[in-house]
């Protein structure tokens, strides 16, 4: 017999229905439905400018949708008071593309920051917690360094340790692999998967690095032109017959997204010039 908590655990952690969002005259999302399942790594993929980062900001309540509902752990994010939204965010972590480390604090203080803000733990306990988080990302030895002394990959690992500091139920990763060398990328891939499994959290991974993301994701959503094109397991997506999904996941230069920018016929242009 299932308990109440068991049945609630089966519901998606993030449930998005009928999401519509515009920036000025440009439609970013036009009726998007997404379910992020608990305990899994869900990747959201699509070409640059398609609104992947915007989706994370909508889920975390940093942006407000024009229409639709976004629920996180059963709570309608955009119906929450500011205090309740902050309480919910304490259970969410986010890894920003730039790392977003506070540049006037060293690595240790950056990771300690949310713990100091939201708990009354003693200094010795905070120290232990921070060192454990830094050990998990392999940077305990860098605790005394300033953000300016870190490489891009190290900065993202510190940011990941900070995102984990409050033991969140979910972590959102915004393009974590962009600009990373193969070693840093491998370390991040391993960390995202192992932290997801070891800490029993849920991960939303926004990226356009197909091979790397497919290697660690349990489910992939491909979005473009304001819609979810297709979603499913990485295997299903890689074998998809949908021409758009095939073009994106296999990196084909021409297809539904044309190689040529729209223009008048070449002959017209050339003859027009000579004439």
């Amino acid at each position: 017999m299932k308990s109440v908590s068991d049945s609630s655990d089966e519901k998606p952690l993030v449930r998005i229905r009928g999401l519509k969002f515009r920036r000025g005259s440009r439609t970013i999302f036009d009726g998007v439905d997404v379910d992020i399942q608990r305990g899994r790594v869900t990747a959201v993929m699509g070409p640059s400018g398609t609104g992947k980062t915007t989706l994370l900001k909508l889920i975390s309540g940093q942006l407000r949708p024009d229409a639709g509902i976004i629920e996180v752990d059963g709570l309608n994010v955009h119906a929450l008071s500011r205090a309740d939204l902050y309480r919910l965010r304490m259970r969410m972590g986010m890894l920003f593309q730039s790392g977003a480390l506070l540049t006037d604090l060293d690595v240790f203080e950056n990771v300690a920051y949310p713990i100091r803000e939201h708990t009354d733990l003693t200094e010795s306990l905070i120290r232990k917690l921070v060192l454990i988080k830094l050990e998990a990302v392999g940077l305990r030895g860098a605790a005394g360094l300033m953000p300016s002394e870190l490489s891009g990959g190290m900065a993202r690992r510190v940011a990941l340790a900070r995102a984990m500091a409050m033991d969140p139920m979910m972590i959102m990763y915004d393009e974590p692999f962009t600009g990373q060398d193969p070693i840093s990328m491998g370390a991040l891939l391993k960390l995202i998967r192992s932290l997801n499994d070891a800490a029993h959290i849920s991960s939303i991974l926004v990226s356009h690095d197909v091979q790397e993301t497919a290697a660690i994701a349990d489910e992939i959503y491909v979005i473009s032109n304001g819609h979810v094109i297709q979603h499913g397991t990485p295997e299903r997506m890689m074998n998809s017959d949908d021409p758009w999904v095939r073009q994106f996941l296999h990196g084909l230069p021409d297809g539904p997204v044309p190689f040529h920018y729209p223009a008048s016929p070449l002959a017209d242009d050339l003859l027009g010039e000579s004439g």
Partner: protein, 263 residues
């Protein structure tokens, strides 16, 4: 013709709406920053850090500028007053000019150039590097944690810096008047003591510098917080901080002077 007219009206309307929205956002930000004082009181270290950054680091600039302005006032004042055989009132002229006008105004202009532009660049870069969004995601209100201490630090620092400017200016005038031009030192100080009224001159000067402190720091913080998060955006915001602050200070100085000394 009609199309051009309509396009012009549309552009004008859009600019007006844009400007009104910015003004609205600036006022909402100001209210949020002021309300953050309760949160700041629990962490006084934040205010002290910003007082050092905004105030103490401006001391050298303000002190040197005050000394030079006082010395120039001493020279110019002496040449004018000597035409009326009124050199003995040099101290009053220097002190009144500084305490009533030049102290608050020049300090505010220098403050906008040094501390104001630094505040805008700092907040703008924090926005561009997603540090403010990072705080939001850590359930920490960036307005209360980052902006409020800076606002109060600016408001507290401005009158102190203006007082320092005026004090060193009076000393500068004394050195030039007595050292170079032969004005009697005792007369210089006695005239100041006799003619400078505490309420009329000093308090009004302090009120002016408090107002300028609020306005300059508010403009600097808003420009940083509302910046377009790119290098060009931060650069433009920094420039706007200096320009808007300078115009606001000079305009407000006229209004305040009219209110305080108009009768």
């Amino acid at each position: 013709m009609n199309v051009l007219l309509l396009d012009g009206l549309r552009t004008l309307g859009a600019s007006g709406v844009h400007a009104l929205r910015r003004i609205g956002r600036a006022h909402l930000l100001f209210v949020a920053m002021v309300a953050g004082v309760v949160d700041m009181a629990r962490k006084p270290g934040l205010l002290i850090t910003q007082l050092f950054s905004v105030g103490v680091l401006s001391v050298l600039l303000i002190a040197v500028a005050g000394l030079f302005v006082g010395m120039v006032l001493g020279l110019q004042g002496f040449y004018i007053l000597s035409q009326f055989s009124a050199e003995a009132t040099l101290g009053v002229m220097v002190a009144a000019s500084l305490v009533r006008e030049l102290g608050p105004v020049v300090t505010a202009l220098l403050f906008a150039g040094r501390a104001g532009s630094a505040l805008t660049a700092e907040i703008g870069l924090m926005k561009a590097t997603e540090q403010l969004s990072g705080l939001e995601m850590m359930a920490v209100d960036p307005i209360r944690r980052v902006l409020t201490p800076r606002l109060y630090a600016g408001v507290l620092a401005m009158p102190l810096l203006a007082a320092l400017f005026s004090a060193l200016g009076v000393l500068g005038g004394y050195f030039v008047g007595t050292g170079l031009l032969g004005v009697d030192g005792g007369t210089y100080w006695t005239q100041i003591e006799a003619k400078i009224d505490f309420n009329e001159d000093v308090v009004n000067g302090v009120v002016k510098s408090l107002v300028f402190g609020v306005v300059c720091t508010w403009i600097a913080l808003f420009q940083g917080y509302d910046t377009v998060p790119t290098s060009e955006g931060v650069s433009r915001s920094t420039t706007r901080t200096v320009v808007h602050s300078a115009l606001a200070v000079l305009g407000l100085d006229f209004v305040l002077t009219a209110l305080m000394f108009g009768n």
